[in-house]
Point group: C2
Chain length 634, copies 2
């Protein structure tokens, strides 16, 4: 056991999350850093309990070996909650505070929107949490705010550019873009050479361009109908889903329909999660495509002149934030791409730094959003593809009550008491639901990864029910299946899980296999993923067909695929629990995040801006002005 | 000279601001804190060069004496720039690094919008700057981001509440607002008791309310036409000035016209600048008025249930940020209310902490936005009224070229070379322009404060021109008038100014006098301020008349007045330079920031959202990915 870890004194019944979080005095984050042998020059403090670990740490550790890499996925989610974050944290508390391993937990930064809406916080739960809970859930070290600022600077630049192009001649536009200095000499700024190169113009003096070249350079001629770049806000503001902008008199009637997404849905968040270095981030941000010109060419952030400024806004956000669990083990919080339309995994740089910090024999446990069909699949085929890393073990989190639902249990309605089926023994329902678990196990095994099932126990679960899940998991090919009670007992409740994960890692085959190669067509890649869902085929709308053709023509067909699908079923129909098969997957639309580096087909309508209910969480949230303590967060 | 201060080696001609900023290695901010005798328990590090000074420092220093309090205003601004921030910083470098005084500079946090637009940074200039420049200009410690988040949470809550009220019966609405717990018992959350009290309902059990009381409680019945709360963004996004929201199908046709302001124009920024403690901020945020009910009653953030959550979002922002000047003297950066529609001064808490930290004999130099007619006037009548502090000296910054413009010099156009009149001797023009300076001096003296004129010298200024200003200033009643060259020489160039300021402070009469008492009518207060501008009278639009009546009826007539007027003239007409008089001041509209605590009459149209030009500053801004250094900021 490391010097900084400590074991919890647990109380039963389990108190409210905020009360548990407040009952533990966090360690100064410098102590956590020291335990990781992190030199003070490689981190910046942000208050007493947070520090940004600088990418320079990675340079220094370049020669060192990596630890074991563990990804946490889940069965198909239900409204009952499966406790994936809680299990991720609890497992690390077990490894660090009970099994004497070096360990780092890698999790996503939560969006502030749901914190004030209906979800509350996302720091885990019970005796398995990241603390301080309020600092984790609110602002943290400002990364999401930086993303919002960068996203919206680009959005403002798009509309302003279209406005200025519409009101100026080619020559006036060119002259304004390349204004004379005090000596009357015009020059290109550095970023302009990126556009000139794209246009095949090798001249370096603005005066040498022909009128035709001036026009090509200065006039982006963005087709407003093709703009995919929207504004973002880290607030649940449903009235911004669809808006009309430009209605002020100074904007001269250039109105346009657009909308806001929640900030974590910004492509810049996906860039942050998938980037591998500062220079890589600079290139990704510059090549983000915001729409097409009227001639059909993709228009990028660098064409608009803003790729450098976006990188400057994101320069601190690229460093992951170090925090701690209730038992004093280290946590790296970084990125949080929206799992609906992006890949829903925390960042590559955080995982890479963590693997070096724990070193050989240590463990990095990273969480993948949604069920394993979406989260683990994208972890493997998108995140690992860009990082070059391979997991040694994949965990699938399941609960008895969720499996009962997959087995045909009654509907669950928020605000109403749970049906008896979920709180009394019903082995039959559990066994029927294990069909869902089994498919997730089989799918995950195709990557060549050992699968450990974590059964996140509730007090109402019976021995026979737990045994049924364990048997089904092993029958489906799981390396092991372990009951754990970290919600009620902290790390102590996940010791068996920790031992099983260690064995799975020690017996891992490396490297992993991908589900599809990159050099097949967009449709073939989509179809490979669809088969893993159990689909018998894929159906494309006319719009989707056209978009696939456009992206292929524009040279983007070599990117991995990030399917945007309901998390509540293997299929496109959220009501189909268990393991549906034989359905045809309908692709409504296909979009692309070129900077982040994936094509994302949309199946059904994905909401990218949540709303506020009649009584949002914020009614309970306040500050004790005497102590400065936050109350009412959950 | 303190241990942390250091003298600059200056180069001539003066290099670019960013090059000077990058040529100095900043001290670790803990060294700056130590020099101020600030215990580590009273600050939180944010990286190596920024720290938040916690309000707890103020509690500990409660018994200690205050230093001298100096406010920096200016003559009426011109497009030429007068260097008020530069003078504020340069004076402090002189006091700290040359005159061996304890000194703290108090400045506003700049908005990120103009940094990427046309203005560039706001850290001072030449050899008088706050460093690191990029950290000062971008994100800083996240205060403006916190304001954006809080402002927009309230905005989302307003529209969501109107939506839910429109779709639910009184009973359903009440039941949703007070949902039953697991035992089926309904209860009010704490914040609801604020609304109940306002309605005169003393019952504490939801079940006891009559249907009429339930309706009064649950139905805010906001009149959409009266909503003054807009969304904000810290980006120059002109297309958001006027928008229509709610056009998504789920919003059921509840469209509404509204718009975005730049984040620093949020009332929450004004609250931050004027608050005196955490509990005071909680009350101010809760009583912000967002519009009226259809019955004409003001609806507040607490009525909507969100005052506590707003405070939680702002809990770190209330602590000022410690940074440093080029010569290692301490700077507190805090708040930055938009001078157009708010009071344009940095925060009360920063000034209060600074006065205790420097102690008797030390100096706190705080900057007021815009010309003295607006900035200093609001500093005195709004900020000092709420803080209870009195300045010992008021500085008025002037330049020869700006005074020439006030004397009738030719128009100045951006991008064109300066007219000869501004760069060759013309004593007559200077003398004529001193009429503007003289009125600012006379106005400032009415507060009972000694006035020192700082003549911010340019290399083209002649001795005779400088002497003319000095003579005019003394004739108008200035305590002293001093030529300074801190832009070219750093603190060394402002030593004479420092000595003059020290004398003025030592000879100060305290306390200050206000321009108007609070207990006269709104109109009488407006008229007192108008007279100070040189107006012969005030004219009210019909709308303004009605608004004044409404605010008076609602009980808000006891607040101070914050006039929203062009900064480019004493009058309402920006083209009237010098010291116009005899004009009638037209009040177009009257609004109120009830939480911040002022009524603001609008004269003419105030833009609250800047735009981006054809070639914004962002074209030059990038990162050196090898060193991580920001380039192109100015």
């Amino acid at each position: 056991m490391g010097k900084t870890t400590r074991k919890l004194e647990v109380v039963s019944p389990v108190p409210a999350d905020i009360d548990i979080a407040n009952s533990v005095e966090p360690l100064h984050i410098a102590e956590i850093a020291q335990e990781l042998n992190l030199s003070p020059k490689h981190y910046d403090l942000y208050g007493k309990y947070k520090a940004k670990v600088l990418l320079s740490a990675l340079d220094e550790l370049q020669g060192a070996g990596d630890g074991y890499y563990v990804v946490v996925g889940g069965i198909t989610p239900t409204p009952l909650g499966e406790g994936k974050s809680t299990t991720t944290v609890g497992l690390c508390q077990a490894l660090g505070a009970y099994l004497d391993k070096k360990v780092v937990t890698c999790v996503r930064q939560p969006s502030q929107g749901p914190t004030f809406g209906i979800k509350g916080g996302a720091a885990g739960g019970g005796y398995s949490q990241v603390i301080p809970m309020d600092e984790f859930n609110l602002h943290m070290t400002g990364d999401i705010h930086a993303i919002t600022a960068a996203n919206n600077l680009l959005a403002a630049a798009i509309d302003a550019r279209m406005f200025h192009e519409s009101t100026q001649s080619d020559k006036a536009l060119f002259n304004r873009l390349c204004p004379p200095n005090k000596e009357g000499k015009r020059s290109f700024s550095n970023i302009m050479f990126r556009r000139l190169q794209k246009l095949g113009i090798s001249k370096t003096n603005p005066e040498d361009l022909t009128p035709e070249e001036m026009k090509k350079f200065a006039r982006l001629d963005i087709d407003p109908e093709t703009i995919t770049w929207r504004r973002v806000m880290d607030v649940n503001d449903r009235f911004l889903r669809k808006i009309t902008v430009g209605q002020g008199p100074e904007e001269k009637g250039m109105v346009r329909e657009t909308g806001f997404d929640i900030a974590v849905a910004s492509e810049i968040m996906a860039v942050l999660a998938l980037t591998t270095s500062l220079s890589d981030m600079r290139e990704r941000l510059g090549k983000m495509v915001i729409g097409n010109s009227r001639a059909g060419d993709p228009v990028t952030a660098d064409d608009i002149g803003v790729g450098g400024a976006l990188t400057v806004l994101m320069k601190d956000a690229i460093h992951p934030t170090l925090m701690q669990t209730l038992e004093g083990t280290p946590v790296l919080v970084h990125a949080g791409p929206f799992a609906n339309i992006a890949h829903g995994n925390s960042s590559i740089v955080a995982d890479k730094i963590a693997l070096k910090l724990v070193g050989p024999g240590g463990f990095v446990v990273t969480e993948a959003g949604f069920g394993a069909d979406i989260g683990t699949e994208k972890f493997m085929n998108i995140k690992c593809r860009y990082s070059g890393l391979s997991p040694h073990c994949a965990i699938i989190v399941a609960t008895i009550r969720a499996l009962k639902m997959h087995g045909g249990g009654p509907a669950v309605t928020a605000g109403k008491p749970l049906d008896r089926a979920y709180v009394t023994e019903n082995v039959g329902l559990v066994e029927a639901g294990c069909i869902n678990l089994a498919r997730h196990i089989e799918n995950t095994k195709t990557y060549g990864t050992n699968v450990v099932v974590a059964i996140n126990m509730f007090s109402t679960d019976s021995e026979a029910e737990l045994a049924a899940v364990r048997n089904a998991a092993l029958a489906a090919g799981a390396f092991d299946a372990v009951v754990c009670s970290h919600h009620a007992h902290g790390g102590k409740g996940a010791v068996d899980l920790g031992i099983a994960v260690q064995k799975a890692c020690e017996n891992a085959t490396q490297p992993m296999k991908f589900l599809y190669p990159l050099d097949i067509s967009i449709k073939e890649k989509i179809e490979a993923i669809a088969r893993s869902y159990g689909a018998s085929g894929v159906e494309y709308s006319e719009k989707a067909e056209k978009q696939i053709e456009t992206y292929s023509n524009q040279g983007f067909s070599g990117l991995p695929i990030c399917i945007a699908k309901t998390q509540y079923s293997f299929s496109d129909d959220a009501s189909k629990k268990g393991a549906p098969s034989g359905f045809v997957l309908p692709i409504r639309e296909v979009r692309a995040s070129i900077g982040a580096g994936f094509i994302y087909p949309l199946i059904g309508t994905m909401s990218t801006m949540p709303g506020l209910p009649t009584r949002p969480c914020f009614y309970e949230i306040d500050i004790d002005t005497q102590t400065g303590r936050v109350i009412g967060l959950s």
